[in-house]
Subunit: 459 residues, 2 copies
């Protein structure tokens, strides 16, 4: 038996312990957007730092203005590549709470799935790499490459601290490839290598009408209703097929590559299956694009929340004093969040009805990203997935955003591997978030195989 | 001294007691739309029933499926007219609570105003008539006419019980004129007789998109966002000048009478003063109409509340599963709420984007109303106001709705007097609702003078 197959055996026999670890971590409600949860966020950082330290890695908690980075590294291996594993220990908010079958921070297994906020996004997924490395070292074998971990606590709120500190951490994070597991397989039983991500830009728009709510009888018709004004300006930003109406918005959008369009057209999921999975009767979107093209490679606009006036029981016939919306754009490579903000400001100035004042607050933004599908690292990942999940991975893009990835490519001048072990119906950002227990364990194995394959490459 | 001037003296000397009474009544949180407040609503009914009974009126609490009517009457006076005083003891909801300077049910006097929910709408105003009648009888003088009181508890939720029971109460409520004080003077120091009201129709529209909130990255562009769909359909109902876009919506709208347009053009308030009073920099509205025409005699559309997705702190990049809005129309005489509902249904079927399901729930509706400005009763009201407030009233319409008034005209075949003692900045339906203490006392005097003048008319 080779030393590597001994490591794989160790990994397989430790699956109960691996699951216990994840359950412990998921119990910590590390919601980074909630200022009341700072201590919980910190506790989630401490948990994974302790886990890495107890396996013998050199660990440091790098403090920031908000939530710390957990940094850890194994010993350098001269001549072998250096891999940086990036992930996050913070999670999304949990409302609407009443839609959770079990509590978001009471991890519960049902039908082979572990349900909890953060199960797939991203505690469960990043922990696959932590486990593979910790077990490898605990088994007493030298690792064939150096692994660095950077696990942050602000991914769900825009990774601002990491953005700000990345240049300064350039030497410490130096690597040949960043490995990130924070997304999904293409479909159940069909793992993927994700070579593209959309960018993001998020905003809050607040409108102020009258100085307070007014009686809609005495004042209706003479005073602009800010909820109506908000509907008008939000409607003006996108048409009913999802085509964004901001002037120049598509100027920098790269046309899709015909090769990838052909590849994606071969992917097995039908529109009908997709519609059923999300619970809608009909899909929608830009004419001339397939569902995967629309969600992976076309820019989009979504309202994430909207709020005005009376929302309680019964009727309250008012002109509300205020109306506000949170909205976000997904960007494709070459689109700039900064240019977008300017464009929205100009557009709002043009279309905003009289009788209201308004404020646009950009929150966070990041450009999209594309990685090579032909590099040695991609080759190693294909083999690792084949050997662990038992199928050839497909090559896809993903519609979500990992804002820091493009910055890693720029600052660290490294390759990038996005290896999602989750499923698209894992309910990331939704009630009843889950991670399939089997995918967690297969992900741990695939991670170990990946280290073994990359260890054979020259740096 | 005549017996009537003795009554007036009594009224003037009892002002402290009158104010105490109102404060007691206002402390009862009789929010009719809130099913948690049923007992409070009942307590408000009991309070005024007790007040009328203790003055010797025959009082009955007429139970309904929801909140009871308080009915009371003085002795019949053969040959003299019968007047029905209509008002309501229920009040609007109070949120946003944090904007109240003092608690909505802790009546507080500041700068000569009594602040509390219901101060002007309608406890304070209807109590002026209760006080004038109770004091008149307590002073030992026979009233020169019969007064009936009908004070209900569902005015703020559409007067459904009264609508349903009105035909059955026709004989008991039989009268020559209905007197209602539930609106405003034209401006500070300029009381008015209001001869027209707008009608109303209120709705809730609910949209369902995906079966739960979705990650806007993984799904954005391929799944219709119900908040965007809602903005599109709400925008499609009205343009930016307030012109309603439903097909045929203006077909039954009466053109304004040139005489009343000339009269209203002479009213003293400028647009600048009006804008300042409501706290906006610019007014808005239909081209070709003045501010008073827009709010009194033109039909309008307002969004009263809108709700979708994430409204808490920070960013949550989702496609919300649902979006909903409460909205209302103000109607002018000859427009029918039932026809409007059909028209909205048809319009929504035409404009609703694919990928969402929807439900429209009509809440309550009532047509608009116009009364005579030349009747004997109007004449008596002009004199009563002149003698009590010291100025000639102006003749105006009002943009608000008192859904039951048109029904009184139809079923009871009676005249109608709308005598508002409040001010337009009394914040009815808003935080910091108030009623000027002086207007309350002058209203009590005017009410007594009105009984004296009407008592001299033949029935």
């Amino acid at each position: 038996m080779t030393s590597f197959s001994a490591i794989l055996d160790t990994l397989r026999s430790a699956s109960d312990r691996h699951l216990d670890d994840l359950v412990h971590w998921l119990k910590i409600p590390s919601i980074s957007s909630d200022s009341q949860r700072c201590e919980d966020v910190r506790a989630a950082a401490d948990w994974v730092a302790q886990k890495l330290a107890s396996a013998g890695l050199a660990v440091e908690l790098i403090t920031t203005d908000r939530h710390p980075f957990v940094y850890a590294e194994t010993k350098p291996v001269p001549g072998a590549p250096v891999v940086l594993v990036y992930g996050h220990y913070d999670v999304q908010p949990v409302e609407p709470l009443e839609q959770w079958v079990s509590g978001p921070f009471e991890p519960t297994i049902r039908d082979g799935n572990l349900y909890a906020r953060g199960a797939t996004d991203d505690k469960g997924q990043v922990l696959t790499h932590v486990q593979s490395v910790c077990e490898w070292i605990a088994a007493g074998h030298p690792m064939p490459l150096q692994i660095k971990f950077l696990i942050e606590g602000e991914e769900e709120v825009g990774s601002e601290s990491l953005e700000a500190r990345l240049e300064g951490l350039k030497d410490r994070l130096a690597c040949d490839c960043v490995v990130i597991s924070d997304n999904s397989q293409y479909a159940d039983g069909q793992p993927a290598i994700t070579y593209g991500l959309r960018g993001i830009a998020t905003y809050e728009l607040s409108l102020q009408g009258p100085s307070q709510d007014l009686h809609s009888g005495s004042f209706g018709g003479a005073v602009m209703n800010p909820a109506i004004a908000l509907c008008h300006v939000l409607s003006s930003m996108v048409d009913e097929e999802g085509v964004i109406q901001l002037p120049g918005y598509y100027d920098r959008v790269r046309p899709l590559d015909e090769t990838e369009r052909r590849e994606w057209a071969r992917l097995p999921q039908t529109d009908q299956e997709f519609a059923q999975a999300v619970g809608v009767q009909k899909l929608f979107g830009e004419v001339g694009y397939s569902t995967d093209e629309r969600r992976w490679a076309r820019p989009t606009f979504d309202i994430n929340g909207i709020n005005s006036g009376h929302q309680g029981e019964g009727v309250k016939t008012i002109i509300p004093a205020t109306a506000s919306a949170k909205f976000s754009f997904r960007l494709v490579p070459d689109q700039s969040p900064e240019e977008l903000t300017d464009s929205i400001e100009r557009h709002l100035k043009n279309v905003m009805p009289v009788g209201v004042t308004w404020e646009l607050k950009p929150d966070h933004g990041a450009p999209g990203m594309l990685a090579s599908t032909e590099s040695h690292f991609a080759q190693a990942a294909k083999e690792a997935i084949r050997e662990s999940f038992g199928v050839e991975p497909v090559l896809i893009r993903e519609g979500g955003s990992i804002p820091i990835v493009t910055r890693f490519q720029e600052v660290l001048d490294c390759d990038c591997l996005l290896l999602g072990w989750g499923l698209s119906d894992d309910n990331a950002h939704s009630p009843n978030e889950k991670f399939r227990v089997r995918d967690y364990h297969d992900g741990i194995l695939a991670s170990a195989v990946l280290w073994e394959k990359i260890g054979k490459l020259n740096s």
